[in-house]
Structures are given as structure tokens and as C-alpha cells.
């Protein structure tokens, strides 16, 4: 720039470079020499592009001498591809007076040009000076330099990337070895531990610090000598990997079984390191053992199942048979292969004691598949039908098979109860026979006493009549006792029937009162009826209802002193029918309240007052009530009175089919 400024300063003083005669000829020559000495091509052109002056290099660009070039139009030397661009640039300098610099490539050379306007020089014909320099070498050098730098940069990037990726690999490796449950150890050729991962600490129980400088013998050495000889031979001398199972010992002293793999790291046929990977398989081993044990147990269970005496059949959740035992085949005549996969309900019909086929709803299995455990009793057995059509009574129990809260099937177990049945029948027959045998002499005693007392065969003396009354009274008590015993035996055998039908319970209650009216009149007792007649007919077994109410009422009469009051209430409490008898009698001693429903129990305070009771009445009443779906309870205070309650759903008694009626 400095150079250009000087040049301009000088140039301004050149009046006419075409006329060297003017003033400072020597100075001009100096400038010319200077211009010729510069490495730049210099052109002074006028408004039309005519070369007013140039230097040697400028002329040489176009293969001429300055003399040859001066006076020609510079533009004519421009190659056509850049002609317009250059002319436009030069023109823009002329038009705006602002200098322009540009660089272009022509014939493989980089040419840099600066175009300056020369103010005040227009008159003299030169208006623009162009400095043009060949910067090809410079550019090439620059390019080289840049290329070189780029190459260097690339190299740096590459190695950086390599480093990063190596680091990443290392990180991955560390992550993997740190998190694997396999124990990873790297040792030198002597077995000295160089690296151990976290799992190695966990498995062996030794910390990395404790392992430092040690060999895996720290936890090894549990196998035979031969094992280790073979082991070392394989990895060290044969330079082959070792794979096998070893037993090691943790720091805690606990033994563990491991799946061991040791690989030698070989470089130039020399073993450098060993990489050992160990997996603790103790748990798998245990699980395997457990599975084996379980399989054994299962086999044992199955053997037991197959050989138990009762019939067994298992079904899936759809009721299709999955398994039957030997007794099943023996009892029913069906072979396992004939029934597995079949619907139990379809191929195995059942009947009730009247020979009627049970509907699926009456069968036990569907209930079991809904999660209920259900049984059919000995008293009213189900009859199982064999393959050949014959039948036998059986008690059956069906149980759901539940796994994780889901019902996955059911098991039905059944037992041939033919012999139970015979025993039961014999028992029942004995009881009825005994009662018959007891009742016959009783009948004779009672009837003859009655006839004598009635004077059928002539009048009796006063004392005779008194004694005979005792005999007659005892006979009647005995008849009552026999009746109660019979009922108890039927209750306990479960052979009594409950046959509900629409019944006028108020009629029953009034009848009970009427039956006791004679004794009540004797004791000058009052009776109050509190009946809610809106209840209407109730579905009960009239005989059983009678037994309960009569029990309550006769007890009240018996155990209430003269002039007492007895209240019989029949009312509705929500959905329950409640029959209660309250009295103003002796009551029940506090200490004996919990025994009042026990068989043959009689409270101390009434035993003295009335020697007649059997101690069976309330027991029978409670049994009946509960079997019929009702409840019995009482409230009592000694010497104030008692209230006995019987409640039953208004829907009535539960039906119970049975052979015998209670009396």
C-alpha cells in the first residue's frame, strides 16, 4: 500500500507520460525503472481502455514490449471468458471512482489485480491504473500449506476418534465385566491376579484388595490334585482353553459349584495372560436337585393316589377327567383310558336314593368348580352307576383345586358306603326294636294302672289308689323318656325328616296352650298370647314346629310357680319369624346357662322342684331348630323368669329328606 501511495504522489506530478520532453525527464525515468523493477504488471489506461503506459512485466504478460503495448486497447488482450467481467470491473472504477480488487485464474495462473482511479488525470488521457500480480506460486504455496494443515487436522481427528472409540470400548468392557454375574479374572502366566471384576468379589467373598498378588487358589484347591494337573496342562502347556465344573470355597467357608472357563491369551506362541470366567451354578444345581426331588415326590403322590382305597377322579376346570385312580376303575368298571378327557358329569351318572338321576345342578362337581367343597352324606348317599349299569351307595366329596387363587380343576373322592349303610341300618333297627320292646311292657303297665284307677274292675282303697297313681305316673314318664330317646337317636343318626309345608303356626301354638291348660289351671297360671297374625301361613314342618313350641311352653308351665304368667309371642323381626315363650318362673342359674342345651342336663334349681324332666327337651328343640335353618336362644334371670326364643327365616324351614319322623 505504501508503495502505491508513493506512486500516486509521484504520478500526479507526471504531466504527460507520452511526452517525455516535459519537465522532469530524469524523474520519470526513475519511476519507469522502479516500475520495471516491481514484480507487478502495471497498466495505465484511459477511458476507452487504451494503454497509456505500462511496465515491462505488464507488456510481457501479453508477449510484447511496453512500446508495442502502449496505444493498443488493453481489453483486446483479455481472453473471451473473462472479458466482460474485467471490463465491467474497470468500468465500475471509472463510474464510481472506488478502487476494485479482484483475482482470477487464467491459463492455470492466479492473477491478482488492483484497479485505482487516478483523480485529475483524466485530461491527460489516463484515468485508471491497474496493478496486476501473478500470485500463482503464492496461491499454490498457500494451497499446499492449507492442504497440509487439513491433512494434519484429519490425522488429529482420526487419532482422537480412535482414542475415543478405544475409551468407549474400555468403558463398555468395564461396564460389562462390572455388571456381569460371571466372575472375570485376568492373571499372569503364574496365576497371579491382575484384574478381578465385582462379580468375582461377590462370588468368592474376597475383595479385590484381598486378591491383589494372590492366585485363584485363594478360593480354589477344593478339587483333586489330578484335576489341577490336567487344568494347568491344558491352559499353560497345550495353550488351549479349559471348560469344566469346579467346586470352590467362598471366604465364608461355604462351598459353591462353578462353571469355569479359562482361556490363555497367546502372543507369538507365548502365553501372556489367562482370562478366567466363572459362573456360580450352585443355585441351578440346587434347583435341579429340587426339581428332581419334586418329581420324585410327585411320583410318590401319584402312587399313593392310585393305590388309595377310595375312588378318586380329578378334572380340569371344564370338568373333563384328567386322572383316575385304581379304585375308580375297580369300583366303577371304567378303565382310565376310557374316561380321561371325557366330561365327568356326562359319562358318570348318579342317582338319589329313589333311583332318580341327579341333574347337573344336584351334582357336586359343578359346585367344586365354583370353589366350594361339597359332600354327600352317608345318610342320604348318592348312588353311583357303574359302567355295567349296576349301582352302589357312596359318600362323595368334591374339592376345588386352587392354584394361585385360580380354580384349575376339581377332585372328587368317593367311597362305597354299602357296609356303612348296613351298620347304620342295624343301628337304626336296634333303636326301633329296643323302643318297641320297652314300650310293650310299658303299655301293659300303663293300661292296667289306668283301668284300675278308673275303677273299671271295682273301687280301690285310698292308699291303693295313691300307690297305683305313682306307678301310673312313673309309667307315663318312662313312655315320654322312650319317646325322647328315640328322637335323640334319630337326630344323632341324622335320620329324621324335615318336611315343610304351609302351616298355620298360630293353630299349633293354640293347640300347645290347650294341651297344657289342665296343668296351668291347677297352678292358677295366666297365659298371654301376643300373635302378629299378619304373618299368615309359614312353610314349616308342623310336627317339628309343634315339638319346639311345646317344649318351650311345657317348660315354662313346669318351671313357673303358682299364679305366674306365661306369654307366648309370635312376631316378625325383619325377615325372621320369632316365636318366644317368656315366664315369671325360677329362671336358670347364671353358672349353668351355657349347659342348658346339653343332653340330659337339668339345672340344679329345678331338679329339686320337678323330678319329672328328661333333660332332653331343649336339646331336641335346638337340634331341630338348627337343622331346619333356625336359631334358638334364651334370656334368663334366676327367680325372675326366662324367655326362650326360636327364630326362623320367614321363608320357612329347610327341607331334609329322611326316613323317620320325630314324635
Amino acid at each position: 500500500m505504501e508503495k502505491i501511495k508513493k506512486f500516486f504522489a509521484f504520478w500526479r506530478d507526471i504531466p504527460h507520460h507520452n511526452s517525455p520532453r516535459s519537465g522532469n525527464e530524469q524523474g520519470f525515468e526513475t519511476v519507469r525503472a522502479m516500475l520495471d523493477a516491481t514484480s507487478e504488471a502495471v497498466y495505465l489506461i484511459d477511458i476507452n481502455g487504451r494503454v497509456v503506459d505500462t511496465n515491462k512485466i505488464g507488456a510481457a504478460r501479453f508477449g510484447r514490449t511496453p512500446g508495442e503495448l502502449i496505444g493498443t486497447v488493453l481489453y483486446d488482450y483479455f481472453p473471451p471468458e473473462i472479458f466482460h467481467e474485467r471490463v465491467d470491473r474497470i468500468n465500475s472504477v471509472i463510474a464510481t471512482g472506488a478502487p476494485v480488487r479482484f483475482e482470477d485464474v487464467r491459463a492455470g495462473r492466479n492473477l491478482r489485480a488492483s484497479v485505482y482511479p487516478i483523480k485529475g488525470a483524466t485530461k491527460k488521457g489516463a484515468i485508471v491504473v491497474i496493478f496486476s500480480e501473478d500470485v500463482t506460486e503464492m496461491r499454490q504455496a498457500e494451497m499446499e500449506e492449507r492442504k497440509h494443515a487439513l491433512e494434519e487436522l484429519r490425522q488429529i481427528q482420526k487419532s482422537e476418534q480412535e482414542l475415543r472409540s478405544a475409551n468407549l470400548d474400555l468403558q463398555k468392557f468395564k461396564l460389562a465385566t462390572d455388571n456381569t454375574t460371571d466372575h472375570v479374572i485376568i492373571t499372569d502366566i503364574e496365576g497371579t491376579i491382575l484384574y478381578a471384576n465385582h462379580a468375582a468379589e461377590v462370588i468368592t467373598g474376597y475383595s479385590v484388595a484381598e486378591m491383589a498378588g494372590q492366585t485363584p487358589r485363594l478360593w480354589g484347591r477344593q478339587m483333586s490334585k489330578k484335576f489341577y494337573v490336567d487344568f494347568w496342562k491344558t491352559i499353560k502347556y497345550d495353550k488351549r482353553p479349559f471348560v469344566g465344573e469346579v467346586t470352590n470355597r467362598r471366604k465364608s467357608g461355604e462351598f459353591y459349584v462353578a462353571d469355569l472357563r479359562v482361556a490363555p491369551v497367546v502372543t507369538d506362541d507365548h502365553v501372556q495372560f489367562f482370562v478366567a470366567i466363572e459362573r456360580d451354578i450352585t443355585r441351578e444345581k440346587d434347583a435341579l436337585k429340587k426339581e428332581k426331588d419334586l418329581a420324585q415326590r410327585r411320583a410318590l403322590d401319584e402312587a399313593i393316589l392310585l393305590s388309595v382305597g377310595g375312588g378318586l377322579v380329578a378334572t380340569d376346570r371344564d370338568g373333563s377327567v384328567t386322572l383316575v385312580n385304581n379304585a375308580f376303575e375297580k369300583l366303577l368298571g371304567w378303565k382310565p383310558t376310557e374316561v380321561v378327557g371325557k366330561k365327568l358329569i356326562e359319562f358318570l351318572p348318579r342317582e338319589n336314593e329313589f333311583g332318580q338321576r341327579l341333574s347337573p345342578k344336584e351334582r357336586l362337581l359343578p359346585h367344586a368348580l365354583l370353589g366350594e367343597t361339597v359332600t354327600s352324606g352317608i345318610v342320604h348317599p348318592t348312588y353311583l352307576v357303574r359302567k355295567d349299569g349296576s349301582k352302589f351307595p357312596a359318600s362323595v366329596i368334591a374339592t376345588p383345586v386352587v392354584l394361585d387363587g385360580d380354580i384349575i380343576g376339581a377332585v372328587e373322592a368317593f367311597r362305597d358306603v354299602t357296609s356303612d349303610f348296613e351298620v347304620d341300618k342295624a343301628k337304626t333297627e336296634f333303636v326301633s326294636l329296643a323302643s318297641h320292646q320297652l314300650r310293650t311292657p310299658l303299655t301293659a303297665i300303663n293300661w292296667y294302672s289306668e283301668m284300675l284307677l278308673d275303677g273299671d274292675v271295682g273301687p280301690l282303697a285310698k292308699k291303693q289308689k295313691e300307690y297305683l297313681s305313682e306307678i301310673y305316673g312313673a309309667g307315663l314318664r318312662m313312655a315320654t323318656l322312650v319317646k325322647a330317646l328315640l328322637n335323640v337317636s334319630r337326630i344323632e343318626l341324622g335320620t329324621f325328616a324335615i318336611e315343610p309345608k304351609p302351616t298355620d303356626i298360630f293353630g299349633i301354638a293354640r293347640n300347645v296352650i290347650k294341651e297344657s291348660s289342665h296343668l296351668m289351671a291347677e297352678k292358677k297360671q295366666n297365659v298371654t298370647e301376643k300373635f302378629d297374625e299378619s304373618i299368615g301361613m309359614v312353610n314349616v314342618d308342623p310336627d317339628l314346629m309343634g315339638i319346639i313350641v311345646q317344649n318351650f311352653f311345657t317348660n315354662a308351665v313346669k318351671y313357673t310357680p303358682e299364679k305366674g304368667t306365661i306369654t307366648l309371642t309370635i312376631e316378625k323381626r325383619e325377615d325372621q319369624l320369632v316365636v318366644s315363650v317368656s315366664d315369671t318362673g325360677y329362671g336358670i342359674p347364671e353358672a349353668q346357662k351355657d349347659k342348658i342345651f346339653e343332653k340330659f342336663f337339668r339345672a340344679d334349681n329345678v331338679k329339686e322342684k320337678d323330678t319329672n324332666g328328661t333333660g332332653l327337651g331343649l336339646y331336641i328343640a335346638k337340634e331341630i331348630a338348627e337343622k331346619a335353618g333356625g336359631k334358638i336362644w334364651f334370656e334368663s334371670a334366676e327367680n325372675k323368669g326366662s324367655t326362650f326364643y326360636f327364630s326362623l327365616p320367614l321363608s320357612g324351614m329347610r327341607e331334609k329328606v329322611g326316613g323317620k319322623k320325630l314324635v
Binding site: S435, H436, R439, T443, A444, D456
Partner: protein
């Protein structure tokens, strides 16, 4: 004719039962005797049998107005005797039978009584002999109608 010791009711009863014959079928002699004595005193003509076979023969041969029948007896039980009697003829089918037993009614008895009406069922030891007489008279009165 004067019945100084009797009220009108008794006279009426005696008049009505004059020709009434009762057959007592009972193997227990003490009980049979009690019933026979009682009914004789009540003015009945009493026939006796000590088992079902005898009873059946007496019933068919002498056609009593009513039969008191025990159940548990040797040779032929009461239920069987009643079954055969009902099958015998018109008389056998219609004669009232009161089953007088000490067996509790089980299904078999209940069924037989229900099927073989007119038949009634009484537990001996639960009944006073006076009430048995009452039941017989009541039954005969019903039969008459």
C-alpha cells in the same frame, strides 16, 4: 227295660255297639288281655288273634266291624295282614283298621296307612286305653255315615 246305673249316653252307646264286633290282633298277651277286657266291658264282642295269620283268618271268617292291629308279630306282621285283607274282598277292602303299635311311623308304615285307608295309626304307649276306646267309637261312627 230299665238301666238304673247308666246315663242316656251310655245307653245310646250300648245300643249302637250291641252288634259291634272288634278283632284284636296282638301277640303280647298282657296287652291283648287289657284290650279284650276293656272292650268287653264297653259292650263289644271281642275276637282275638295272636299273629297276622290268625288275624287274617278271623277277619275273613268272622267279619268284625273294626280291627285293632299290632305290627310287629310272629308268622305274619300287621302290615302284611292288612295288605292281604285289602286284597281279599269288598269287606276286606272297607273294614276300618286301627294300627296299634309301638313302632314309630317310618316311611313303610306311613305309606301303608296312607294307601290302605280306612286305617289309623296309634302309638300304644302314648295313648290311654280310654282314648283307644274313644278312637274306636269315633271311627265306627264315621264309618256309619
Amino acid at each position: 227295660l230299665i238301666f238304673p246305673a247308666c246315663g242316656w249316653k251310655e245307653i245310646k252307646n250300648i245300643m249302637e255297639d250291641q252288634k259291634k264286633t272288634i278283632l284284636v290282633v296282638e301277640d303280647e298277651m298282657s296287652v291283648q288281655n287289657a284290650l279284650a277286657d276293656k272292650f268287653e266291658r264297653e259292650g263289644f264282642e271281642v275276637l282275638r288273634a295272636k299273629d297276622g295269620a290268625e288275624g287274617l283268618k278271623a277277619a275273613i271268617g268272622k267279619r268284625p266291624s273294626i280291627i285293632l292291629l299290632d305290627i310287629a308279630m310272629p308268622k305274619m306282621d300287621g302290615i302284611e295282614m292288612m295288605r292281604r285283607l285289602r286284597e281279599e274282598n269288598e269287606y276286606g277292602k272297607s273294614v276300618p283298621v286301627i294300627i296299634l303299635t309301638n313302632l314309630t311311623a317310618d316311611d313303610k308304615i306311613t305309606w301303608a296307612v296312607a294307601k290302605d285307608e280306612p286305617a289309623y295309626y296309634l302309638i300304644k304307649s302314648d295313648w290311654r286305653i280310654e282314648d283307644v276306646v274313644g278312637k274306636v267309637r269315633e271311627t265306627l261312627a264315621k264309618e256309619k255315615r
